[in-house]
Symmetry: C2
Subunit: 440 residues, 2 copies
């Protein structure tokens, strides 16, 4: 990948080989993209001028040997999400489900509804019930066990949560607990937002995906047959409790799926974290507890900062969706649940990076590093063959980041760890990326 | 009704005749109700110590001859709902739908979705489309026409709004417009709250019920088979536009239904307004434009004040539900749509007033005046015969005002225009009221 004339082998399905020399020709760019008026350019974290509550100041020695994440079992590391009167803590650590007081201090009222699924319930439901009720006889706990999978993140399944809540006579002073992955967290959170116009809830994420991303920040919702997460609410939990021991039972494919989001944080705003990942991906894949704890903590710190700056996604928060617009199109096109969210995001990230490169906004070394780290994580770097250009375009047209008909995308720009959220890009680059990655 | 030994004929279905003498015996009261610790006692409006933005200072001459509500066609009276950055105006007047600039200044984005029903669409849809697009060619307007009736305020019907919004490729910078009565406003508002996690919306209420109550204050939602409004959101509109001309096409039963809420404002906090209603109910029933405009304006002022003080119903806002807990039980028990909301609230108000009287909290003159004014408005003063005590208890157990298992009610206490929101009352009084009004 040293020579600019080297053919870039991004994907086996690449129809139009890209010659770097042509991409680096400024004439390739639409003039508008050089004067990016409606573009939000977000600096990487080290140059953020806003004072941050939980500054990330890891140096490379910390990065290589993340002692800072080592904790005694049951002693959490805490990351705060700073949102004024909606602020809340994220507790991260081993054995936290054995610490009832941690959970109980965030329970409101005397009734709790645990929302979980058929996979997680046999593993952790009893443990969570025990944590909620131990030494706390006044609390009654109900649970609703949903089918497992993104294909069930729909209105029919959501109604089962409302049915259970109403049958259990839950009132406004109750607490919903989401026990599971991202689908459970999103559905339980939206149910909590809408039940009696809003009740308290707690997130207990049990997948990497949920621990590093979806449980933090208050985005809740369900899918519509025509698109992902089109119905939902911004609604913050009382706390997020991450017991890293729950990852011991996570299937490998789910584990890798979560790393797609970990990699995202590095790419959009935290180059040092990306470098740490490049060196520690094997340890992460081998479930090294310290490596996992560090990756989760640092991911939560990144997410908490972004959410604190922009809770309702007016600007910088959108950057957390790197690769997601392409990824959502993949998930919607192949049918929910066939590809895991992180798998679709991984392929989508490669596509966003490819497009950034076609626009001349990043150099080829970043393209290569993204492909390499995703391969290390055993994640796909191309979309499934059945997804066509038209399918991409059709789903992307209803993406939440469309504004007045203009699709805005998160694209990398500049050195590693910098990105933009913009609708001001050459449409040809998007077309070229789609055609390069699709067979038809 | 002068003598304390007179039998009170509240209802033809009264099984246990109430002798006022026994009710006025303080031994009838549970001791707790005399020392109301968890009771919120809300003074009538004239003694509110909080500075109010739109003070109601009508004197009796204004009340009898409401010139203040007379406006030139197309010139609105404005009532502001003061909620910080979520504040918005309520425009009230004749011919306002002929003033495109009023509506257009609150439209965000280039796409509008009008949510209306099969009854209202033939009457006003074209007019609203014209108001939105006149001199404004950049705006495209879609509409979704739902079946009419409380029985359609459900998840299946709500999904039709999402379907239409997604098919129409609406993005976050769009505006939903609710054109219709309370059901349409509640559903459109909740759809706006949840679509893409929140888009702008405008209320154009076309019934008295919606104009004086449901369109103002941001309560949105749908019913569940087991209870009313159990799923929803607090979500404020950009503005409420009340064209009083739309009442010209309102069926009489709907007209009367709305007056149940007008009467409510008088009872809970505005004795002068209640006195005005007693003198002007015939004019209201005859649709005298000035009387209607005054009743709507004064109702909106009352509602706006209460909502400004307590947006999310932590306390005083709950008082707006006088009669509603009983009323919701009626609606749920007989099946949504069979009784109009205001009809159920009217009977529910009589029951709440009866219970207040049994507790010794109000004197018999108020009981009589409530019965009299509801009769003048041709509203029911007893629940339907098929509703049993057990049906009441079953539905009331899942009321949103239950907290930790305790049902809190809005009850009148003291002179006309004063009420309390409390769970601290003698359970026997509630039982006695239910048995007095139910055949079984």
């Amino acid at each position: 990948m040293a020579s600019t004339s080297t053919q870039l082998s991004l994907s086996p399905s690449l129809k139009q080989p890209i010659h770097l020399s042509s991409l680096q020709n400024p004439n390739f760019l639409h003039p508008h993209s050089l004067f990016s008026h409606p573009t939000n350019h977000f600096p990487k974290i080290s140059s953020l001028s806003t004072p941050l509550r939980s500054p990330i100041c890891a140096n490379s020695s910390q990065l290589m040997d993340p002692f800072s994440a080592k904790t005694q079992p049951g002693t959490p590391t805490t990351v705060n999400v700073d949102l004024g009167d909606r602020s809340y803590p994220i507790y991260i650590g081993s054995g936290l489900l054995n610490k009832p007081e941690l959970l109980q201090r965030h329970v409101h009222g005397k009734k709790v509804l645990i929302v979980t699924n058929t996979t997680v319930a046999p593993l952790y439901l009893d443990k969570v019930v025990e944590a909620l009720t131990s030494g706390n006889p006044n609390v009654s706990v109900e649970s609703v066990i949903l089918p497992d999978g993104e294909q069930y993140k729909d209105m029919d399944t959501l109604m089962k949560v409302f049915d259970k809540a109403i049958e259990s006579r839950l009132d406004r002073r109750c607490t919903f607990v989401a026990l599971g992955g991202g689908v459970i967290g999103d559905m339980c959170g939206f149910a909590a937002a809408a039940f009696l116009r809003g009740v308290n809830f707690i997130q207990i994420p049990t997948t990497v995906m949920a621990q590093v991303d979806s449980s933090v920040g208050g985005k809740t919702g369900i899918n519509h047959p025509l698109g992902k997460n089109l119905i939902g609410a911004f609604y913050q939990p009382q706390c997020v409790l991450i017991d890293t021991d729950t990852l011991n039972t996570l299937p490998e494919r789910e584990l890798a799926s979560g790393f797609a989001e970990v990699i995202k944080y590095g790419l959009i705003r935290d180059a040092e974290f990306f470098e740490w990942q490049e060196k520690n991906m094997q340890a992460l894949m081998a479930r090294d507890p310290n490596a996992l704890a560090y990756a989760i903590k640092r991911s939560c710190e990144n997410k908490a900062e972004v959410v604190s700056l922009d809770e309702r996604e007016g600007g910088i928060r959108a950057t957390l969706n790197l690769g997601h617009t392409f990824g959502h199109a993949i998930e919607t096109s192949v049918g929910y649940g066939k590809w895991l969210h992180g798998e679709a995001v991984a392929a989508g990230t490669v596509m966003a990076v490819d497009m950034s490169y076609r626009l001349g906004w990043i150099d080829d070394s970043i393209v290569k590093r993204v492909n390499d780290i995703l391969k290390q994580a055993k994640l796909p770097i191309v979309p499934p063959e059945i997804v066509t250009v038209d399918m991409f375009k059709s789903v992307m047209a209803v993406d939440k980041k469309v504004a007045d008909g203009l699709l805005r995308l998160i694209l990398l720009k500049g050195s590693l760890g910098s990105c933009v959220f913009t609708g001001d890009y050459d449409r040809k680059a998007l077309d070229d990326t789609l055609h390069a990655f699709c067979k038809s």
